[in-house]
Structures are given as structure tokens and as C-alpha cells.
Subunit: 116 residues, 4 copies
Amino acid sequence: MSDQLEQLRQRLARFASERDWDQFHSPKNLSMALIAEAAELVEHFQWLSEQESKNLPTDKQQEVAMELADILIFLIRIADKLQVDLTETAWEKIKINESRYPVDKVRGSAKRASEY
Amino acid sequence: MSDQLEQLRQRLARFASERDWDQFHSPKNLSMALIAEAAELVEHFQWLSEQESKNLPTDKQQEVAMELADILIFLIRIADKLQVDLTETAWEKIKINESRYPVDKVRGSAKRASEY
Amino acid sequence: MSDQLEQLRQRLARFASERDWDQFHSPKNLSMALIAEAAELVEHFQWLSEQESKNLPTDKQQEVAMELADILIFLIRIADKLQVDLTETAWEKIKINESRYPVDKVRGSAKRASEY
Amino acid sequence: MSDQLEQLRQRLARFASERDWDQFHSPKNLSMALIAEAAELVEHFQWLSEQESKNLPTDKQQEVAMELADILIFLIRIADKLQVDLTETAWEKIKINESRYPVDKVRGSAKRASEY
């Protein structure tokens, strides 16, 4: 796996065990924590236009960066508990996406694969 | 930033531009796509017990791995559009979490920081 | 439509227009606000066991009730903007669920319709 | 409580017990099912502009209506299990919102209460 992600994985595993938090870290619970963080990200953008979301003021940019960090943290934790290699699986999924969304078929269109 | 994540970032940027999809990839929209994937993960666990979530049958394990990949993919995309270094920001957040949740104060308890 | 829901619909429409908030209340934005509230509900339960979630302390019960109210509020708003009759459509969906999940086929099992 | 919502509550309670599904319907699990439905709604809008979300083609409109029904269904179920009167609590929350967002202070602005 990726060096940086592996270091984060270890640090987060230690963070949880130091606090005796593994008891709470079932994949079920971690999926809930992850979506809660994803929602904090959504909240930052819900009343902004798409254009505004591309031009965030500095303080907002910093808050949003922290939400992305939270999501990555829980993603690494749940992948750890499920023994999933995140980057390897991402490359697999990109291959699948390539065949689901061939350039000549989907260029410029945002429909779902099943809607073509 | 992390080598593997940087390679994924570039591949995903190319994937989107080949398909002329950058027009849809505002941070606002990407935050929506990300939470939609986080929810597909939650769906796999909603009727399972915590124990069952730790012992997934092989086919379910593979589906869940793909959902984690989807989440990582959109996380990398939105970080790219917002010019956020994911791993660097994660390390910053871990430092913040260390002071919010000191071991001696929170050991064995899952309350939120504000509830201590 | 339901009397109570209709009264809430009107009150919420007035609430928004008094504050000149209709400009922010596109269905797209409202769907984001709704999921953000759904996530606040999830957050209350993420570290609790299923059993604990059935026996909430009084203060937690009150907070959770408020989250349910928030979800209903945004649900009524988005249904209003999309001109959807919530209760009528719910009855339609129950009929569909009856044929997707016949009692004799699904009794005691929590698989998705497509997994039978 | 509201007549229509009460009838739906009873119908949904019967739907679940006929299928011996109460065992799965802890508030924790129902909060997960609810957010999964909220995400299916978000998915319909993620690549659409706000303007497009106000002008849905007929088939899309029908799909979105069904998602709203799903959300209401799980909202009624979880309120039932938690013994929360949905409409009564909504009216309470509107009162709270009135004092958090006084017209003269917030008119035309979409900041969060804490950001004023």
C-alpha cells in the first residue's frame, strides 16, 4: 500500500487503541462516522452556488480542508478494520469505470451508466 | 503529498477531462457525489449487527471494498479541485484530535469532545 | 394532503419568504440540507449499540427528537418546491414495497429485494 | 398527531411486523436506512445545476417523488420507535428557528446561526 497511507493507518490504529476505542470501531459504526463527516462537508456547500464553491474565502477553505481530513481518517480506519487496500482497490475501480464510461459514449454527459 | 495519492489524483484528473466532465466537478457537486458513495457503504451495514459487520461473506466484502474505492476517488477529486493536500491535512487533524481527546480523559468512552 | 403537513408547508413557505431565502431553496440545495440533518441524527447513534439506541437518556432523546423535526422540515420544503404530495406518494410506495417484499418470501430476512 | 401520519405509522408498523422485521428496526439501524434514502435523493441532483433541479423531466420527477416517499417512510418508522410526535416536534423546532434566525438579522443571507 501507499507509504503515507500506511503511516496514517498505523497512527490511527494507535490513536484508537490508546483510548480503548476499538470496542466502538466496528465497520458498521465506522460507516456511520464516515457519512457524518461527509455531511459536514456537504453543509459547507449547501447554500453556496457551484461558482462560490470554487472560490472559498480563506477561513471557509480551512474548515473544508479539515472536513476532508476527517473523511480520510475514517476511511483509513474502516479500510484497516476490513483489511482493504485503499489505493489498490481504487485502481481496480478506475478500470471498471473505464469500461462503464467509455469516452466516446459519455463525453460531455453526466448521466449514470445505466441511463445510456 | 503521498506518491500513490498523487498518481491517483493525476489519473482521475485525466479521466474527467477525457470525458469533458470538469464542468460537473465543482466542489459543491463533488461533495454530493462523495456523500452518495458514503451512503452506499452505509447501506451494506444498515441491517447487519456490529458483529456481522466484522465478518462479511466474501461477495459482500468485495462490494464493500468497491464502495471504499468510490469514496477515496471522490475524496481525491474534491481535494484536487480545492487544492488540499489530503495526507498533510490528516496529520494536522490528528494533532488537533490529540488535544481534544487526551488519553487520560477519554479512555474507554465514546462521548463527543463537547460532552466531557 | 394531510392537514397538519399542509399547515407546516404553509408555515415553512412563509418562514423562508419572510427571510428572502427562496433564492437558496432550489431542490438541489434542499436535498443537501436534508442529508446534513439526516447525518446529525446518525451522529447521535454512531457509537451507541442498537440496544442503547432503544434506551436513550432524556437529554439525548430530546436532541434526537429535534433532529427528526429538522428532517421533516426540509422534507416538507423540498416536497413543496417539487410539488410532491408526501403522504399520497408514501402510500404509493408502500404498495410497491408490498409486491417487492411479499411476506412469505421475506419474513425474518433483511436482504435487499434484488438479493432474493 | 396528524391523522394521515398516524395512519401511515400504523400501516408501516404492521408492514414490519408481518415480515418479522422489528428485530432489524432499532433506531440506530433506522437512522442508517434513512440517510441511505436521503442520499438516493442527493444522487438525482448531484450533476444537475440548481436551475435544472427546478425543472425536472417527468420520469426524473417521478423517481424523485419516490425517494421523498422513502425518506418519509423511514422518518415515520424511527419516530414511532422513539415515540416522537413528528408534527408537534416540528412546530417546536420552528419556534426555536424563529429566535435563532430573526427576520431583521438574517434577511437575504444564508449563513449559519453561529456565523452571525
